[in-house]
């Protein structure tokens, strides 16, 4: 039942302080005064609490259990991070306060930037983008501005592997590029021949994530970088998969010119049902004059926001970014330190390879190579043999109390199931997940209907999303 249906006219959960001023007459022209009725809930505080509490119970979450969504890095979100953003000195400050009065915040942003530059091997960074895709847009606009600044107006092409996240081509398009898809090798890696074929003086940038979406490290990355740079193009790093390599190698060391990160993946800030995240963008020194304004800088002991960035792409949002998300990421980096971040990556890779090994007993794995922090199941043989789809397997997993992995991505794998355990999961959890998969495979063979009609024990059964889109109901109406 929606909260609107729980309303009763006149019920209230809110009371303002007594007014010491008499309400003045509202002198707005009559036609601008609200006459359209405003249907919002009318409920008491206990009713508000119960409504949202019971909604909360209908959600799966990291705090509840294993959430192996590939590509999303659903690692545990430390409680300390949540505690520190409760300081009024962080949440209670206005972005237009005099800078002298927000030196703590500016220092935190500056140091976070420095830490992230060190982790990625980049020279400068903006913390403003609100999410990974936002960061991609910023990065691609920087790439565009760079080429234009050199008068290189022909470079309209962005190369994007067919294994890429959907945001890559979308962001490239928003940044005005023509997207050309690069076919991967059988292995799921960048095909150097294919790349060579596409390289010409119209290519502005190649977008890559490394490890790629199959969880494989592009071992030819140095050669790729050389090819790209020789062709006068730039190399863009999608940081979605940074969790695999911290403390071992860095995008900057691999030859990437532009990097975006996802603080809500690698740096443990919670995902909030879809956000807020934070997508900082780092660049090599030759690109730093293109960063969006403002850029956080330090001058002696004073931290400030620099609006005088000569070739800036401009502003990409209001104010300075998702500050509270940065506070959490900063807290995480202090907690983990250089040693801890490296250990996190190692354990993430260990977990993925261990689980890959267990799962390979029941499913084909899309690539025979050692994986990094995630791996992809190729379900096509399974589907052929059992008639049960990977979607069904995913839904059946919900019945067993675990969240399903990412499915049907990357697009280059048929009936894909992309599993990213992260380093915060224990061996026991991985063993349990494999055991559940074994059960489901058994069910698919012996009683496929159970799997095909899953889930059975969730707050709702399988939902009809086809007619939901065909006959859309966008809002509650009385």
């Amino acid at each position: 039942m929606t909260i609107f249906e729980k309303s009763a006219p006149g019920r209230k959960a809110f009371k303002l302080p007594k007014n010491d001023l008499e309400e003045v007459e509202i002198k707005i022209p009559e036609h601008l005064k609200r006459k359209k009725p405003l249907m919002l809930p009318e409920v008491s505080e206990p009713e508000v609490v119960r409504h949202y509490t019971n909604l909360a119970y209908k959600n799966y979450s990291v705090d509840k259990g294993f959430y192996p969504l590939g590509s999303c890095t659903m690692k545990y979100n430390p409680k300390l991070n949540e505690a520190v953003v409760a300081f009024e000195g962080f949440y209670g400050i206005h972005p237009y306060q005099p800078w002298e009065s927000t030196q703590g915040a500016l220092k935190l942003m500056y140091e976070l930037k420095e830490y992230l530059c060190e982790i990625t091997g980049m020279d400068d960074m903006t913390l403003q983008p609100a999410a990974g895709a936002h960061g991609e847009l910023v990065g691609m606009l920087i790439a565009r501005a760079y080429h234009l600044s050199k008068g290189d107006v022909k470079r309209r092409i962005a190369l994007v592997p067919d294994s890429a996240h959907g945001t890559n081509p979308a962001s490239a398009a928003m940044a005005g590029f023509e997207v050309v898809e690069l076919k991967s090798t059988q292995d799921g890696l960048v095909d150097l021949d294919e790349l060579k074929k596409h390289l010409n003086d119209e290519v502005a940038v190649l977008m890559l994530t490394n490890p790629n979406t199959l969880g494989l490290f592009e071992k030819d990355i140095l050669e790729i970088a050389k090819m790209i740079h020789d062709a006068g193009a730039l190399l863009y790093y999608d940081g979605a998969n940074l969790n695999a390599i911290m403390g071992r190698t860095r995008p900057g060391d691999m030859g990437f010119d532009i990097v975006h990160l996802n603080l809500h993946k690698t740096f443990s800030t919670p995902h909030g049902m879809g956000g807020p995240g934070s997508g900082p963008v780092g660049v090599k020194a030759f690109l730093k004059d293109f960063l969006p304004i403002p850029v956080i800088r330090k001058d002696g002991e004073r931290y400030y926001l620099d609006f005088n960035v000569p070739k800036t792409i401009g502003r990409v949002r209001s104010f300075y970014g998702n500050f509270l998300v940065m506070v959490k990421a900063y807290t995480y980096i202090l907690s983990m330190g250089s040693d801890g971040l490296e250990h996190a990556s190692k354990m993430a890779v260990l977990n993925a390879n261990y689980l890959r090994k267990l799962v390979s007993k029941y499913f084909d794995i899309a690539s025979p190579r050692v994986c990094m922090h995630e791996f992809v199941v190729d379900g096509s043989k399974f589907v052929k043999q059992t008639g049960v789809r990977i979607l069904d397997v995913a839904k059946r997993l919900l019945d067993y109390g675990v969240h399903a992995p990412t499915i049907y991505f990357p697009l280059i794998v048929h009936e894909a199931m992309m599993v990213e355990p992260t380093e915060t999961e224990s061996k026991e959890t991985l063993d349990h997940f494999a055991a559940v998969l074994e059960k489901i495979v058994e069910e698919a063979k012996t009683k496929p209907e159970v799997v095909k009609t899953a889930p059975h024990t969730t707050p709702v059964r399988r939902l009809d999303d086809v007619s939901a889109t065909k006959y859309p109901v966008f809002r509650y109406k009385k």
Partner: protein, 443 residues
């Protein structure tokens, strides 16, 4: 051992055995070792980290809410504790995008209800389930207008938040879109004359803010009448919509804005959340996620993401936007806030903002600070002070007040002006005291 990582030596040993390798190094054979050790501090225990963060937080100056007279996009409002208590539930905080709808009904229903509330506030037919902030929502609205009619000229009022305008320019910089600014007249409203002169058949969209950046309430009716078929985009402040007729009633095509006033702390400017609403006829051009109502296979009502074919993960370079992660948790915060306040509470808050701002303006006038514009305003207004206002503003800050915004930051021509704000958090006493301080500091 790290508290967030469970692996014991024994675990690692067993797992390597299962994998069939001797060391973790073997898993990294493809990966060049380019870093010996990251040049970062060593990991710290949580008590030390807490202490450091507390220290950093306390080196920011928190102004008492009642002493804040600056808005300009981020507003101090009263936030009931129940909003924080519910929005911080880990089931909301530690979930992700509802890819598996059956175990995400909490997220989905809450966002469906949020969309409904945004439709109610704006008077529009359909809202998405959130954007990053008001500025990027506006930029996406401009791109959407371009998708609707493929035209290039966007007329944007100079009384739209300057940072929003800048963001639009950045987003559109790679598109076939150009902007022309429309000035305000002596009322502080966007000049309808100027608008009429600029509007033509090539006009893609017209953008105004309601109430506008100078606090003045635009007459959306006369604007709509003036702009012909151009896509009508309105940036709205949500609290004011409790007492203002919504843009939808005046024929707006797209209404966007920032949801910060609806229960979100100032957060040094972020995260907030952008809202985005439009008409059903435009919905397939809209960016962002949309939640719809449906049934499960037993006929029970449930909620799912709909119209995903517009989105990047399916449509890739042809998507309506690249947005993936949005600001769902902040949208939830908005929804909880609106549930707590209800229609009457929101109206009361709006009226209190209006009352306080008008009291403040009157007090200002008494000490010789005159309003620059004579249009009706909601909770912000511009006064003329003096050319050295910014220096004075810093001086006032030392006394514990966050004074009106130095408008010179954004408008050379208003260098001697300040954008003042009052909301329901200001009290008569705090306003009286502020005006006293101001008077003594200005003289």
């Amino acid at each position: 051992m790290y508290p967030y990582i469970p692996h014991t030596e024994e675990d690692i040993k067993k797992m390597l055995e299962t994998i069939g390798v001797d060391s973790i190094e073997e898993l990294y054979l493809d990966v060049p070792k380019t870093v010996s050790k990251l040049n970062l501090p060593e990991g710290k225990d949580e008590f030390s980290v807490y202490r450091i963060l507390k220290q950093m937080a306390s080196s920011n100056k928190v102004v008492e809410k009642e002493k804040i007279f600056l808005g300009a996009g981020i507003y101090a409002h009263h936030i009931p504790q129940v909003v924080k208590a519910l929005a911080s539930r880990p089931e909301f905080v530690t979930a992700y995008t509802p890819y598996q709808a059956e175990v995400s009904q909490g997220t989905l229903q809450a966002l469906f209800e949020y969309q409904t509330m945004i439709c109610e506030l704006t008077g529009m037919e359909v809202a998405n389930s959130s954007m990053y902030d008001g500025a990027s929502a506006l930029a996406e609205a401009v791109l959407m207008a371009h998708r609707i009619n493929s035209k290039s000229k966007v007329l944007i009022s100079e009384a739209v938040h300057p940072e929003y305008v800048q963001t639009c320019r950045t987003y559109a910089s790679a598109q076939n879109i150009f902007f022309e600014m429309i000035p305000v007249d002596e009322t502080g409203m966007t000049s309808v004359e100027a608008l009429k002169q600029k509007v033509d058949e090539d006009t893609c969209a017209v953008v105004v803010q309601y109430p506008n950046f100078f606090g003045v309430i635009e007459d959306l009716k006369v604007i709509k009448d003036a702009i012909k078929d151009a896509v009508f985009i309105v940036v709205a402040e949500p609290i004011s919509l409790a007492i203002l007729e919504p843009p939808g009633s005046f024929g707006a095509d797209i209404v966007v804005g920032d949801g910060q006033p609806l229960g979100i702390e100032m957060n040094y400017g972020g995260p907030t959340v952008g809202f985005f609403a439009t008409l059903e006829k435009h919905v397939r051009k809209m960016p962002g996620r949309i939640i719809g109502q449906t049934k499960d296979l037993e006929g029970k009502t449930g909620y799912v993401m709909i119209l995903q074919a517009r989105e990047q993960h399916i449509r890739r370079e042809k998507a309506t936007s690249n947005i993936c992660t949005n600001h769902a948790l902040m949208a939830l915060t908005n929804a909880i806030y609106m549930s707590v306040l209800g229609p009457e509470g929101l109206k009361e808050v709006a009226k209190r903002c209006y009352t306080n701002a008008h009291y403040l303006a009157e007090k200002f006038e008494k000490i010789g600070l005159k309003r620059v514009f004579n249009g009706e305003f909601f909770n912000e207004f511009v006064v003329r002070v003096s050319n050295d206002y910014e220096a004075k503003w810093r001086k006032i800050f030392e006394k514990g007040f966050l004074g009106p915004l130095p408008l010179g930051w954004y408008f050379e021509k208003f260098k001697d002006c300040a954008l003042a704000c009052a909301t329901e958090v200001n009290t008569k006493d705090s306003m009286d005291e502020f005006v006293e301080v101001l008077e003594s500091d200005l003289s």
